[in-house]
Symmetry: C2
C-alpha cells in the first residue's frame, strides 16, 4: 500500500497543511517518507462534529453489527500483510517477531470484544418489575441498561504501535461500547498509523456504517491533543503515555465547562518481591528470568520490572551475580525513539547523581544503533530508597533497582512508601506463604494486578485482567485498559421507568430477545 | 436521648472548641440547642488516620459481618424512636409523615445493601483458568474481584436529613463496599445528625468492628469540607448539594497530589414533556398531578419537575388553568432553611427579571412561617427559553416553567439545548409513540432516568434505579447515588495472577465458597 501522509476524517483522506511530521528510524536516525501535514482546530471540529452527528445511530446499532465491524477491522489489518510489519519495524526499531505477536494480540483483542458485545454482559441489564399492589406505595416497572458515553478521543501509545495505537485496546473497547472514535496518531509511527487507519476506514465502509464512526488525525506537540480533549463533542479520553502527558490531559478535561473522564495509563515501576525462601532456593534462576523480563522490548513495557525488593544476604548476592552476568552479556537494543533514548539516559544519570545507588551491572556500550538501550541494574539500601523520592521515578527502559532490606517488616515498609502501580509481583515458595499473607493487603492497595512466581511483562487480554491501578499508575483506579472490563470505561447507566414495551430498547424488553444475562428482581437470570 | 453537641470520632464523643453552629427552626426562625462546637484540621487528621488504620481490616471483614453491621445500624435508627422524627421536624420544617417515610427508606436502604453484600454480585468475580498447553504462549490462572477504595468522606444533604445524610445512601453504599466513612454533618440538622451518628456508633460497637469505621464531624463554611477532601487518607467523596458546592469539591479533589473521585449530585431541572395526544386527552388531570409533584416537600427534591415542555394550543390552556387553580390554592410550606428560602426568592426574581416569562400562577402569600415557599408557575416561549441561559438555572423549590413550543421538532430542539438531568419524563398515549421514538435518543443522552406517564419525584431504591445523569446533574454520569449499583462507586478491581489457593481471597477460591455469581472462562456461573 502506498502511504499518502493523509489525515482520515470519516471516509475522506487528505493532506493537511500544517508543518509535516516525519517518522524517524530510531536505529539509523534517518527520516522516513512521507511527511504528515499536521492539522489544526478546523480538522478537529470537522472530525468531532462528524462523530457527534453519527453517535446516536452508531450507539444503537445491533450488537451483531458492531461485532462484525470489529471482526472486519481485524480482517483488514491482517489483509495489509507484511507491509504493516515492515513499516512498523522501520518506525519503531521493534523486531519482527515482537510486532507479529503484537499484530496477533491486536486482532485477537478486536475479536474478543466482538464476542463480548454479542454475549451482552456489558449491558448490565437490571429489571425490577412493577409491584402495583405494594403498600404504602406501588412500585413502577424499572429497567436499567448501559449506553455509550459519546465520541472518544484516543491517543496512540509509542510502545505498542499496534495493540495500543490506532486500532488498539482503547479504540476496540470504545467502538465496542458504541462510541465513535477519533485517534490522535502517535508521531513516532505515523505510517503504521495510516496503514491501520485505512484498514479501519475500509471496515467502516464495508460494514455500511456511518462514516463519522472513525477518524485519524496527525499533529505535532500538545496542540492537537488539547484541541481534542477540550472539544465539546468529545465525551471521554483514552491515553497511554507519560505522567506529564496524562496529567496535562486530565487538567484540560477537568477544566472544561463539562468535565469528562480521562483514562490515562501513565507510570509504574512494578515492584517484584523476592521472598527469602524463594530467593534461597532459586537465586540464580530468578536472576536470569528477571533479566529476560527486564530486557523484553528494551524495557519499554508499562509493566517492566523496575524494582526488586528483597532481603540482604548470600542468596541475594547469588541473584545479583546471575543477573549481572546476563546483563553484561545483553546486546543493546534500539529504543522506540531518540527522545525516549535520551530520556532513558537522563533517568540513569539522575539515579547515579543521588549518590546512593551501587551499579550492579550494565550491558556492553558498543552499538551501531542511533537509539541504543543499555540495560542497567542498580542496588540501594531500603532506608536510602525510602528517604529519596528521586529513586521512585520511572526510568522508561531496561533499568531496574534492587532494594536491599534487612528483614520482611522493612520490605513492607518500602511497599507502603511506593506510589500506585500497575503490577506487584511476589516470588515465593510454601514456607514464605505466611509472611506473604501479611504483605497482601498492602499489595492490593498499591497495584491493579498481583502476580505470584511470574514476571509482570506480558499482559493477557481476558475477562479477569486488570491493567490499571492506583494513581499515578493510572488516572482512574476503578478501570482497566486491557481486558474485557475495559468496555465499561465508555458506558453509563440509564433507567427506564414505566416505558411501554414497544419503546424499550431490545435489551430490556420482556422475553429477553437479545438472550443476555439479566438481574431480575435481584436474581441473576 | 439527650443531645450533647458532640463530634464523634470512632467511639469517642467530645465537644470541639470552634465557634458553635446551632440549628435554626426554619418555621419560627428560632435557634435550637445545643450548639455544635466546630472542628478543625486536628480533628480531621484524627478521624482520617483512625479510618485509615482500620481500613485493611474493615474491607476484609466477611460479607455476613458487614451485612449484619448495616442491619444493626437500621435497628439502632429505629430504636431512637420518635425523638428522631421530632428533632428532624424541628430542624427541617418537614412534616411528620414525610420524615417517617424517609426513615423507612433509610432503614430499608441499609437492609437492601445488606442483601446486596450477601448476594455477592458486587464482587464482579471473573476467573480465567490456566491454559498451560496453549500455544504460542501458555495462559496463567487469572482471577479478578473488587475491593474497597479507602476511607470515604460523605457530605450530608439538607433536603434528605435521613435518607441522604449521616446514614443515608452514600454512607450505606460506602460501608457496604468496605470503606470506612467520615461524615460532615449538614449544619441545617445537627441534632438529627448526632442522633443518627450515635446510632451508627453503637452499631459499630455492638458488631465489635474497629472503631475507625465511622466518624461524624461538624464544621462551619467550607473549611471542614476542604480539609476532608484534601486529606491524603480520604480516597473518595460522596456529596449531594449545590452546583457551586459540588464543583468546589471536585476542584479540590482534582488538585490533590493524588486526585480522587468525587460523586457529586448537584443540579437538575427535570424536564417533563407533555406529548400532544396525551395533553389533549388529559390536560386537567395532568395539570393537577403536576402541581402535586411540584409541591411535594416544598419542591425541595432533586427530581422536582422544574420544566414542562409542550405544544401551544387549547389543550395547553386547559392544562395551565387546572394547574393554576391548584397552585393558587396551595398553602405555603416551610422550606428547609432560611438560606434556601432566600435563594428561592432570588431565583424567582431572576426569572422575572429576564422579562421573558409570563407568571401563570402563584400560591397565596400569607404564611406565618419564617421560611415560606410560594409555589410559582411561569410560562415562556421556546425561542426565548433557548436564547436565555438564565432560564435554564435550577430554582430550588416549588417553581416550574412551561416551555411553549410550536411543534414537536421544536420540543426536540429545546431538549437538545438542556444540560444533563437526573430525570426526563414523557407523558404520552399510543398515538404519541412514534413521535416519542424520535425524542428518546435525545432523552437518553440528557438524563439518567427516563419516565413515562409518571412524575419524577419519588425515587425507588432498587437494582435498576439510576439517580445520576450527565453533567451538571452529577459529576460522574457513569454512577448512581441511589439503588444497589451505588456500591460500585467505592470499589476498584484487582487481578490475582497465579496466586496459590490458600492465599486467594475467599471470593476467588476454587469451589466458590461464598457461592457468588462468577464469570468463568467467559461463562456466567
Amino acid at each position: 500500500m502506498h502511504l499518502k501522509g493523509h489525515q482520515l476524517i470519516g471516509q475522506e483522506s487528505f493532506a493537511a497543511t500544517g508543518n509535516p511530521v516525519f517518522a524517524v528510524n530510531p536505529a539509523t536516525g534517518q527520516r522516513i517518507e512521507p511527511g504528515y501535514g499536521t492539522c489544526g482546530q478546523e480538522e478537529v471540529d470537522r472530525a468531532a462534529e462528524l462523530a457527534w452527528s453519527v453517535f446516536d445511530r452508531y450507539r444503537e446499532t445491533s450488537s451483531a453489527c458492531r461485532a462484525e465491524f470489529l471482526e472486519a477491522i481485524a480482517d483488514q489489518i491482517e489483509a495489509i500483510g507484511d507491509v504493516l510489519i515492515e513499516r512498523a519495524m522501520e518506525e519503531t526499531g521493534l523486531p519482527r517477531a515482537r510486532l507479529e505477536g503484537e499484530r496477533g494480540r491486536t486482532c485477537g483483542q478486536l475479536r474478543l470484544f466482538a464476542r463480548v458485545i454479542r454475549a451482552g454482559e456489558w449491558l448490565d441489564v437490571r429489571i425490577d418489575p412493577e409491584l402495583p399492589d405494594r403498600s404504602p406505595l406501588p412500585r413502577s416497572d424499572l429497567r436499567q441498561r448501559r449506553i455509550a458515553l459519546g465520541p472518544v478521543a484516543v491517543f496512540g501509545a509509542s510502545n505498542f504501535p499496534l495493540a495500543f495505537s490506532v486500532a488498539g485496546g482503547d479504540t476496540a473497547s470504545a467502538l465496542a461500547a458504541g462510541c465513535p472514535v477519533i485517534v490522535k496518531a502517535h508521531s513516532a509511527h505515523p505510517g503504521t498509523s495510516e496503514l491501520v487507519g485505512r484498514a479501519v476506514q475500509k471496515a467502516v465502509a464495508d460494514c455500511e456504517l456511518p462514516s463519522g464512526v472513525f477518524s485519524l488525525l496527525y499533529g505535532a506537540g500538545n496542540e492537537l491533543g488539547q484541541a481534542l480533549v477540550t472539544h465539546p463533542r468529545i465525551q471521554a479520553v483514552g491515553f497511554t503515555g507519560s505522567r506529564s502527558g496524562g496529567t496535562a490531559l486530565m487538567k484540560a478535561a477537568n477544566n472544561r465547562p463539562q468535565p469528562i473522564p480521562v483514562y490515562a495509563e501513565m507510570s509504574s515501576i512494578n515492584p517484584v518481591v523476592l521472598m527469602p525462601a524463594a530467593l534461597e532456593e532459586g537465586a540464580e534462576a530468578l536472576g536470569k528470568a528477571f533479566v529476560a523480563s527486564l530486557n523484553m522490548g528494551a524495557g519499554q513495557f508499562c509493566t517492566n520490572p523496575g524494582l526488586i525488593l528483597t532481603i540482604k544476604g548470600a542468596a541475594l548476592d547469588r541473584f545479583k551475580a546471575a543477573a549481572a552476568e546476563d546483563i553484561r552479556e545483553s546486546a543493546p537494543q534500539t529504543m522506540l525513539t531518540q527522545g525516549i533514548c535520551s530520556a532513558y539516559g537522563a533517568g540513569l544519570m539522575q539515579l547515579r547523581e543521588t549518590g546512593k545507588v551501587e551499579e550492579v551491572a550494565a550491558s556492553k556500550l558498543d552499538s551501531d544503533s542511533h537509539s541504543p538501550c543499555h540495560s542497567t541494574l542498580f542496588a540501594v539500601s531500603a532506608t536510602d530508597f525510602i528517604s529519596d523520592e528521586r529513586l521512585h521515578a520511572e526510568v522508561f527502559g531496561s533499568c531496574s533497582l534492587i532494594i536491599e532490606c534487612d528483614e520482611v517488616t522493612q520490605l513492607q515498609d518500602v511497599l507502603e512508601h511506593l506510589e500506585g502501580q500497575l503490577t506487584a509481583t511476589v516470588h515465593m515458595i510454601e514456607s514464605d506463604y505466611s509472611a506473604v499473607e501479611g504483605l497482601l493487603p498492602t499489595l492490593e492497595r498499591k497495584a491493579g494486578r498481583i502476580l505470584a512466581n511470574a514476571w509482570p511483562t506480558g499482559v493477557e487480554v481476558c475477562d479477569a485482567m486488570v491493567h490499571g491501578g492506583p494513581w499515578p499508575a493510572t488516572s482512574d483506579s476503578r478501570s482497566t485498559s486491557v481486558g474485557t472490563a475495559a468496555i465499561h470505561r465508555f458506558l453509563r447507566p440509564v433507567c427506564y421507568q414505566g416505558i411501554p414495551q414497544t419503546l424499550l430498547p431490545d435489551a430490556l424488553r420482556d422475553g429477553n430477545p437479545l438472550e443476555v444475562s439479566r438481574l431480575i428482581d435481584g436474581k441473576r437470570e
